[in-house]
Symmetry: C2
Subunit: 765 residues, 2 copies
């Protein structure tokens, strides 16, 4: 293990790099020209429409107020100032609860670290096992369990601590589950009227020779929910149409680009080649080409649109059924409709913007097959992903390239380039794979047939966590590919597996400390800089933007990215819990990560990320479950470690821990999970009654009529996909209701003060 000095140097480097990121951020963010990169959320919400510059033209690009450079870290307290209820209003419950994950990290690990440093560290330190042995060791090792002699009674301390840590973690988890569940229920209860409260998605409508899907749905629900059925909306298979619309949008972008170019430089008409990547083919006038292409596509689109509306085969056997009351919808979503449980499947409709339209028509049998295929594929991906990568690596050597493209040989043979390629190539395949992994996992989830974006992200997160657990956590502890591990584990006794892993845990503490600093500290600090969106925005701004609307489109606020972010946090929970008893020196590093990440992501959520959907914290059971997994893993590994230390008498006591933990998990599952899956009738009835009293003449039908139309049917010919979605959400607001679209919820009156306090001070309103 490295010495304290080594760790200190590494820490210094990483703190410095984090500091540099923060400094760069502090300077960049107060330049008005970057305003749309660092504060897109405010533009999306319509609270800001142009950077609040200091006057002249130069002032609109560069910030000339030098006072603001001094207080370069004051975004941090600003990020922490917004109270949670306001945050929920501002960015949705999902984001607010997502931040609580970081807070849980602090709540769990700060007291644990305190206990560990006052009790465990002295107990470990006051031995001289390592001194007496001939092993090389460092001061860091003296703080860890390695310094306790074999079979010492001091292991009782670790045992008691394991119990204390488990109970504390469970206590925090239970409290937090309770809070999040009540936040969710409160959020659902205080929500404005939304179409998904009244709507149920029906899938696998059985084919009927005499009736169309629409008629069938109407009849079925009129018969079986006579007092509650209101209206329905069939689902069209508009995948091809939306592809065409998307294509047209791209064409229009290019047309805009060339028109702008031409208007700036009228002397030369822009032209392009029509072949592959615009490298080959005949040269044509660019503006003419795109104009005609767009015309062609417009025709095609209107043809396709007619085809979909008139062709009964374009109607998928699914429908959004709306009810007169929330009670009716809650009943329909939670019950079985038909005696054949694979038809007339009902479930809560996701929010309109949360729907993944492509998957709405997958039949039941096909779903089961898809699930099997994805399970097998994921197994192979996790355990055998190294095989194709090794294959690619073996191809991508210098000789291979020289053979494939002989004319490059002289260049490649140059010494500098050759060594660069040799050093770079072997790693690149793996790197590319890891970059694309979240997308691959997302594709898997899509193939599996989830119908909401939130569901897709949750499933991808689960898979990503498993992948990280096996390939990062286990892979770093027992060096070797996942497949080698699997092979080892199959040939080892169930008893030996925790021993093998447990025994090598203390040795890996330094590695994980470095990992936390590079991936956690510097990674989080890098997140705030948003280098990629910054560059892309300025490129787009320079080449494409003509109007304010274009500029708005050029913003790329991004989203929290639950499917990649949450598994990363979970890795830190795992590390923290595993090392809490074994090598408490790791804990401060994890606490710093959680603290830093909390501030950074709070800032990002307030100022940057766009909210793609609102699942009302439906992901919490997953988060809770994975922390429990980390807890059980830590207990098993401690058991393995202690049994190699001749402290076998502790085994029965340690076996009790996972049993209790799993029982605790099941208890929580029964107690709190239903709040995340079902919708209690009492709540529905309460909201219905209130609404009926307040608005007795409400025309609900017109409110719900168009809520669940496929986005491509909504916008006009000129609209693109995104626009359509947005419009789709706003549309219901046109009906006589007091509803306020999510995107412009915050009221200016009493909140404006606290909002403005979040802006850089020099940009005060």
């Amino acid at each position: 293990m490295a010495t304290l000095g080594d760790i200190g140097v590494a820490a210094a480097i990483n703190i410095l790099s984090a500091f540099v990121f923060f400094l760069a951020f502090a300077i960049l963010r107060i330049q008005p020209v970057n305003d749309r990169v660092y504060f897109p959320k405010w533009y999306i919400k319509g609270l800001r429409s142009s950077p609040l510059g200091t006057g002249a033209f130069v002032g609109k690009i560069v910030n000339l107020d030098f006072r603001s450079y001094v207080r370069f870290l004051n975004w941090m307290p600003a990020a922490l100032q917004m109270p949670e209820p306001e945050l929920i209003d501002h960015a949705g419950l999902d984001s607010a609860v997502y931040l609580r994950i970081y807070l849980i990290g602090l709540k769990i690990f700060v007291p644990i670290a305190f206990l560990a440093f006052t009790i465990l560290v002295p107990v470990n330190w006051t031995n001289n096992t390592l001194k007496l042995s001939n092993l090389t060791y460092s001061d860091l090792d003296k703080l860890s369990i390695s310094n306790i002699p074999m079979g010492s009674t001091r292991f009782w301390t670790h045992l008691v601590m394991a119990y204390a840590f488990t109970f504390w973690t469970c206590y925090v988890l239970k409290k937090e589950y309770e809070i999040v569940a009540s936040m969710r229920l409160h959020f659902l209860a205080s929500e404005h009227r939304r179409p998904d409260q009244f709507t149920v998605l029906v899938r696998n409508v059985p084919p009927d020779p005499d009736e169309s899907v629409s008629e069938l749905v109407e009849h079925f629900f009129l018969v079986n929910h006579p007092d509650h059925y209101l209206t329905h909306q069939v689902v069209y298979n508009a995948n091809k149409l939306s592809e065409l619309v998307h294509k047209k949008k791209k064409m229009r972008n290019w047309l805009d680009y060339y028109q702008l170019k031409y208007s700036r430089n009228q002397s030369k008409k822009p032209s392009l080649k029509t072949g592959f990547l615009a490298l080959w083919g005949t040269r044509v006038d660019a503006i003419d080409y795109y104009t005609s292409e767009i015309e062609r596509l417009s025709k095609e689109i209107s043809l396709e649109r007619d085809k979909i509306v008139n062709n009964p085969k374009a109607i998928m056997p699914a429908a959004f059924v709306s009810f007169q009351t929330r009670w009716g919808a809650a009943v329909c979503a939670q019950t079985q409709q038909s005696r054949n449980p694979t038809i007339w499947l009902t479930e809560w409709a996701p929010e309109p913007r949360d729907i993944y339209w492509d998957n709405l028509a997958i039949p039941f049998v096909s779903l089961a097959v898809r699930r099997l295929i994805v399970a097998v594929a994921f197994f192979f991906l996790t355990f055998f992903f190294m095989i194709p990568i090794a294959f690619v690596q073996s191809l991508a050597n210098i000789e291979g390239i020289e053979k494939a493209v002989p004319f490059l040989k002289p260049i490649i043979e140059m010494k500098a380039i050759k060594s660069f390629i040799q050093g770079f190539l072997p790693g690149i395949a793996l790197k590319i794979f890891l970059i694309f992994l979240p997308s691959i996992l997302m594709l898997m989830s899509k193939f599996e047939g989830f119908i909401s974006l939130s569901g897709l992200e949750r499933r991808s997160a689960t898979r990503y966590y498993i992948f990280q657990f096996i390939n990062v956590f286990l892979g770093s502890i027992i060096t070797g590919t996942a497949f080698q591990q699997l092979n080892n584990f199959i040939h080892q006794s169930a008893n030996n597996i925790p021993k093998t892993i447990g025994a090598s845990i203390p040795m890996k503490a330094t590695f994980f400390i470095t990992y936390i600093m590079v991936d956690g500290w510097a990674g989080v600090a890098g997140e705030i800089l948003r280098l990629k969106p910054l560059i892309i925005y300025h490129l787009k701004n320079f080449f494409l933007v003509k109007t304010e609307k274009d500029r708005e489109e050029a913003m790329d606020p991004g989203t929290i990215g639950f499917n990649t972010g949450e598994p990363q946090i979970q890795l830190y929970f795992l590390l923290g819990l595993v090392y809490a008893v074994v090598a408490p020196i790791l804990l401060p590093f994890i606490i710093v990560f959680f603290g830093l990440a909390y501030v950074v992501y709070r800032h990002q959520i307030i100022n940057v990320y766009n909210q793609e959907y609102e699942s009302a914290a439906a992901f919490w059971p997953d988060v809770h479950g994975r922390i429990i997994v980390a807890l059980v893993v830590s207990q098993l590994l401690l058991m393995g470690l202690l049994s190699t230390k001749h402290a076998a008498q502790s085994t029965p006591l340690l076996v009790t821990l996972p049993v209790l933990t799993i029982w605790f998990h099941r208890f929580c599952k029964g107690r709190y999970e239903p709040a995340f899956i079902r919708y209690p009738l009492q709540e529905a009835m309460m909201k219905d009654t209130l609404e009926r009293a307040r608005e007795p003449n409400l025309n609900l039908k017109s409110f719900l009529q168009n809520a669940y139309i496929h986005p491509v049917f909504k916008g006009g010919d000129d609209s693109d996909y995104d626009e359509a979605t947005e419009e789709g959400e706003k549309e219901p607001a046109l009906v006589l209701t007091k509803r306020q679209s999510r995107r412009n919820t915050p009221l200016a009156s009493k909140r404006s003060r606290s909002f403005s306090s979040l802006l850089p001070e020099d940009q005060e309103l």
Copy 2:
């Protein structure tokens, strides 16, 4: 392994003993005096009230018609003649579907045996591996996989057969699941009006300072199910009362006994001692004593009854809530009511006679704790039950007895008795434990808090199966206690476990053949003789019976006993599937078991067993699941076995099998299981609509009012528990409905002919 001859002798002995049982049965059953032992079902259903003797007094006790002795096996075709729909009418769907388990055994194993004997046996037989080896072997071994040389390509046959057997089993299982599910739905749809169709059990009603439980329930459901709520019935904690009633009934029995004794022998007034077991204490007049005791108890009962009715603390936080429509009940049972998912828990009310009243008031937290305790207790029971038994055995040796009761020493020291005790004692503790095991498991389930008898039996069956799997199946293959196995498995690699077990499977074929013959053949044949009820009935008949009603009570028809019967059948499925590929010689024995058991149990169900409850085949998912488990176990063990035979190239193909099987199970679960848990709204609506059309003036409230009153409140003062239950079921029939109580359903008209054909021919009506 034993030779063919040995097996033949064992088979002959067992066939002979089965034959003797059948012969004894054939003679005993046609004696009119035994009529109530062998045909109690007909008495219970009210279709027969006295044995159909041939005239004189002697003819009422002994059958004098000698012709009937000749055709002593003709109960068998008679048992098979009743068609299934009639059987469902006669004995309920549970019984009819229970019989299908045996039929599945035949459906699975007959074709498998045919394939195995035409393909596998020749392939095994035409080797001379055993001949060339120096091992002792028998002809039986030559039929098994042991006769194939190491690494032979002939193992491909076994591999293909494993696939064929798996696909066939899955095909049969799927077909059967489909049939049973549709039988269940058809049964539920064609049922007469029953209170449980309209009623939902609500548990964990939250305490309220201002309202009583009854008021609270009424208000809650009036608010949240305004259009559907009809009435409700609170649950009283009448455990003490029912205990008193039970005690009084026992006293009355004794009083009857002594009165009868006195009336027979008027010279001597019967007396008894009041102390422990009537061995100590003052001697009193028995009739006076019991009369006064009964009087005292009657008073106590009426006091207790008043106390329960008037004391709000005797009302448990649970209620049976009835709805106006089946639709309303289906909705309430399937949805969550309150935002706190641990209060207002709703579920379908079981049939009134199926309710286990004592468990109705267990709160949620306590349920979770109980589940943990039972899980841990069951684990210890399964793996460590040998420890207390060994302890008892070590105490219960000759020396121990001599020390405890020194005055018995001279008797014990006698040689014959000593050797008897020494041979008998060590086994007796285990034997007693095994006899009481089902009761212990049932107690565990009761402690766990299930609220219906059917639920209790299902859970006990699951536990009994696990116990048998570990202690009988694994215990016989790897000799050693379960704990030793567990210890072995922990210290073995995951790879080695199937190898160890798989390798010893072929060697145990003879053992299991003998087991099947003793436990299966002779056991089933013994079941039909009903020796214990026969003896008890005649004892009671002699000592207690005065009136016809007493005689009816003296009958002990028993029930199918799902909790012990089904796990036993499952053991045969397991053996059959495991040995199908390895040693097909086992299959004929299993087929004979299934055939024999099918006939015997069909006869018993028609003529003997009383139906305690009707769960409409709710146990089928369990049955299906356990056969799948057996299938997966057989595949894993085959994999282990083949890998010890150097046929490793088959492993990937064999790994695919369990993956496919488990996937198949999940598919079936999704496709069919909901039919066993939920009640589709479509069905409910259909029945409601039909009923409304047929009986527009139905007074449902009076029909439901008293359906769910605790049995002790129903009968008069003189009634006993059983009577009350019976009355409870009949009571609703008094209301103006066409409903016919289950117990006297079959109509005489067109069915009487087929019924009579089931009676012994000499007793023709």
